[in-house]
């Protein structure tokens, strides 16, 4: 529905040219196309713009007298969505705007320093999580470990793990000879080493055929123990057998004698699975892996 006041305007559309209207608003006169009374009204309106200086409020007066800090956002008023405002700075008073103002107020050198600091902090955080590429991770870990008490993951840690796994059989054997072996501890260590193998495709220290795990570590301290072949399948730790690749070799001992000596019925439940034929032992092995 059209407003009543618009109807006569439409009637005058052809009376006044665009150029005359623009000249009128620009203060250049409108020639004969516009009446003098309109020019007088325009002059009166323009007069409003040169009126008296208003009295500022106390808050504004203080600002004019003392200056202000636009960067710190210490003014309560704000101007939203105004032309000339930079994107992202339309909500002063929020933390983001204050941060943007702070950064904008820094010198070029300070901005460069701030950027480098942020980048360093980011790399440090990712390095602490061990998520950097190998060589970069080593550099970051070395640098941080040199200046902090923290131990970050690096490639040496993986080597340490491999060494630990490689020495597992020897350590168990020594313990067995000393009479200080504990079946539960053996089972847990074997389980831990087997789990590490899954994470380290190159590591095979925990496999039954691994020379490092040859072990007579689970052998009882009998005279025959010293004569057992190092690579004999039944000589491997029970946990290592279950968590390593499936063994296709013969198992002639059934596991019972070993269990009796080294605690094969420890928490790993090795004694029960050793009685199962090798081809059926695959399923529990997978279950443990999962």
């Amino acid at each position: 529905m059209r407003r009543r006041v618009d109807i006569p305007v439409e009637m005058h559309r052809r009376d006044i040219g665009d150029a005359a209207i623009e000249a009128f608003f620009s203060g250049n006169g409108a020639g004969d196309e516009l009446p003098a009374s309109l020019a007088a009204i325009a002059d009166e309106l323009r007069e409003l713009a040169v009126g008296p200086l208003p009295e500022p409020t106390p808050q504004l007066a203080a600002l004019l007298a003392n200056g202000f800090s636009a960067e710190e956002g210490d003014l309560p008023a704000t101007a939203l969505d105004v032309p000339g405002a930079m994107p992202g700075a339309a909500a002063p008073g929020k933390g983001r705007s204050r941060l943007a103002g702070f950064v904008a107020g820094l010198s070029a050198a300070a901005k460069a320093g701030l950027g480098a600091g942020v980048a360093m902090a980011s790399v440090t955080a990712v390095g602490a999580a061990g998520a950097l590429p190998g060589p970069v991770q080593n550099v970051v870990a070395t640098g941080i470990e040199a200046v902090t008490p923290f131990d970050l993951p690096d490639s040496d840690d993986g080597a340490d793990d491999a060494t630990e796994r490689a020495n597992f059989g020897e350590r168990m054997s020594t313990d067995a000879r000393d009479g200080g072996v504990d079946g539960k501890v053996v089972g847990e260590d074997a389980k831990r080493n087997g789990g590490s193998d899954r994470a380290d495709p190159a590591g095979d220290a925990g496999r039954p055929d691994d020379p490092g795990g040859a072990g007579t570590d689970r052998r009882p301290p009998t005279p025959a123990a010293d004569h057992a072949p190092p690579s004999s399948p039944d000589a491997a730790p029970r946990g290592a057998v279950r968590t390593g690749p499936p063994s296709t070799g013969p198992r002639d001992d059934g596991g019972e004698p070993d269990d009796a000596v080294v605690g094969g019925d420890a928490d790993t439940g090795a004694g029960a699975t050793d009685d199962i034929p090798a081809q059926h032992r695959e399923k529990p092995t997978k279950a443990v892996r999962e």
Partner: protein
Amino acid sequence: MLAAARTGEGWAAERLWRSLAPAVAGYLRAQGASEPEDLTSEVFLGVFRAIGTFSGDEPGFRSWVFTIAHRRLVDDRRRARRRPPPSELSPGDVDRSPGRSAEQEALRRVGTERVRDLCDQLVPDQRDVLLLRLVAGLTVEEVAHTVRRSEGAVKALQRRALCAVRRNLDRQGVPL
């Protein structure tokens, strides 16, 4: 001066205030703002609060200030709808600039009231465009940005506003 104002220099802010505040106050007064002087101070507080985000020259800054003023005015109108209507303007409410006599002040007031009457007869969009062009001195493009309309719409509105004023003057018996 703009660069100094951006850094928070009080003297620069005061110069900006002195150069633009009368026009802003006149615009708000012609628009019928309830407290034009206080609203002008509010506008400039907003201006100085956001001046660090402004980029441009002095004409652009003038347009920017009037954009803020117009939006403060819209807010003021919204607030005015929720409060009782203001009392009639009394002689004591008239602005008295230091260099003006009482007679000059009376003439100015008569002129202002006449202009106010004419503006009150315009629809709001036409009044906005007319006052932004004549009081604020903005271009069509700047007005379009301020009122968030297209330039074509602004040209149409200013044409209609002129024709409406012409018609109202004719009704009042003012010789054309």
